[in-house]
């Protein structure tokens, strides 16, 4: 199994190297022994932008571009998915069948992705059907093990639509958790600790009065194979032994009470009331 993965990666590296070689040749042949640096290319684009402003191009073309750019900007803000690079090329075209190779990279909140896939379009007299094949996604899933599993499952099924929807939802929850943690750290700096920083998945509430008394709120975000994203919060109390003897029932019931509180008040209000109850204990 491992060797299979190695082989797939090695093959992809090999084909990418070949493609790069081909593009370099294509570029250099056209350049006719003239070399342009990246800066020069950027300057070239800038000067052209200036040119297209100076020599008034047909207003409809400029208006169309403005309109399209505002649509794109709106969609990116609305969905949270930002495309940084996109290209497609036709691999095969026969009669009513077209195969296109797509390459897409971008970010979704703090998560970045790169993908390649083929889109097989078949034109029938009624409509066009499109099928995604050979989907390959590269993502730094890092600490999110189930996100990694979900990505593999999406690749296997060619499930691009579900991938984007779940990625967007997952990234949004991560962002929400980060903002919530930051908010409480700023509001209660003496009581709240974030051992892994705001991007971590737990927050510690430490009583300034009672030493050794801590409440840890663990906030995990799960993605199942179907792409359903679920936030799960748990309370883990850490209490000195002597205190435990006095009020064992309260400690044992704590996590369940916290779950009930989440259902009634929601995430932020539940965390807030916990922090306040710890902060008020004298």
């Amino acid at each position: 199994m491992e060797s299979d993965i190695y082989q797939v990666y090695e093959d992809e590296i090999h084909s990418l190297e070949e493609e790069i070689e081909m593009l370099i040749q294509k570029f250099e042949n056209k350049q006719e022994s003239t070399f342009y640096s990246d800066e020069e290319i950027q300057i070239s684009i800038k000067s052209l932008e200036g040119e297209s402003k100076r020599h008034e191009s047909p207003p409809d073309l400029k208006a169309e571009l403005d309109c399209l750019e505002s649509d794109l900007s709106f969609l990116m803000k609305f969905t949270g998915v930002w495309f940084t690079n996109y290209s497609k090329e036709t691999v095969e075209k026969t009669g009513n069948k077209t195969i296109q190779k797509h390459r897409l990279s971008g970010t979704c909140y703090s998560l970045t992705f790169q993908m390649e896939f083929q889109l097989l379009e078949i034109q029938s007299n009624e409509s066009i059907s499109a099928v995604v094949t050979d989907l390959s996604i590269i993502m730094e899933c890092g600490e999110y093990s189930d996100l990694s599993k979900f990505v593999s499952s999406a690749e296997e099924r060619g499930n691009l639509l579900i991938f984007f929807r779940s990625l967007s939802s997952f990234a949004e929850w991560c962002e929400h958790r980060k903002c919530t943690f930051k908010h409480f750290k700023a509001k209660y700096p003496d009581i709240v600790r974030l051992p892994e920083g705001p991007s971590g998945d737990y927050l510690v509430i430490r009583s300034p009065e009672l030493s050794g008394f801590e409440l840890m709120i663990v906030w995990k975000i799960y993605v199942d194979a179907e792409g359903r994203v679920t936030p799960v919060l748990d309370l883990l109390p850490r209490i000195p032994v002597q205190a435990l003897q006095h009020n064992k029932a309260a400690v044992e019931n704590g996590p369940q009470c916290f779950r009930n509180m989440l259902l009634l008040l929601g995430i932020e209000a539940s965390i807030e009331s916990l922090i306040r109850s710890v902060g008020m204990e004298k």
Partner: protein, 296 residues
Amino acid sequence: MEEATAYLRDGVLSHLEKLEAHARKLALKQEETQRQQENLARLRARIQELRLQRDELQTKVNLQQVGLIRQEGATGSNVEPVQAAETRGQAFLKWKVENVKAMLQAFYLTGISGKLTKQGVCFCISTAYEGTYLDSYYLDLLIQQPVQIHHHSVPIFIPLEQIAKKYLQTDVKCFLAVLSDHLNAYAGRKYQADQLQDHFSAFLEGTLQRNSLHNVLFFNYDVETESKTFPFRAKLVYGDLTRSLPTEAIITCKAGDGSASLVEKTAAHSNLFRHTALHKAFDSFKRAAESLDQTV
């Protein structure tokens, strides 16, 4: 007594040696796993790096093709004719328009695309089942107080009004996500039923009965096991309208003799239908029948 102590000591020592050997083995195995993971991470990073390099080169080639990078010696003097500059400026704009259009088209693949209108926004919700893109639905919203649905192409049996009542005024994004769940689940159920009818009609006896929402399906099917054909009747109920798998699968055998093996079979079929796409379940029946033919 001493013998016993020595024997015991030897036993303990050999046990410790075994434990040490096991620990060494485990450490080596862990090292190997870690090395493999590092290698994979290195390969992944290399792929990412090469893809970026490739994309940058592709951009350069594209720019070159629309004449953005000036060819030396293309004009005799340094002063470029106004006409040529205009043409190049236009070529650049055209290239930019095509680029943005392509990106907007790519949004179709994410499930939600759309464009701003004078009074609001027109969304397009695309549906797909696994890798196959199916129908798209349009929703023209008037962004005002309250937000209104101006036009839409959502089928009448999708509970659009209920969803709108619940989410539209408070969270448009959530409204679209829930609506998209309903539309994708419906598209998935319909797709499975169509696939069953188109590719596995040999198994079906009579027609597949379905309602417009495709949340209740009835069909009769024959499955051959142990060189005997059993006629089954199925009723699939999709209790959760945001999913494309049934919550209930009632299977009965029409030639039921009530034997334990038959009860087991119907239970297995019911379980299969609840956890596997309809056409995939029949694909497994087909494969089972084929392997049975080969063994006979």
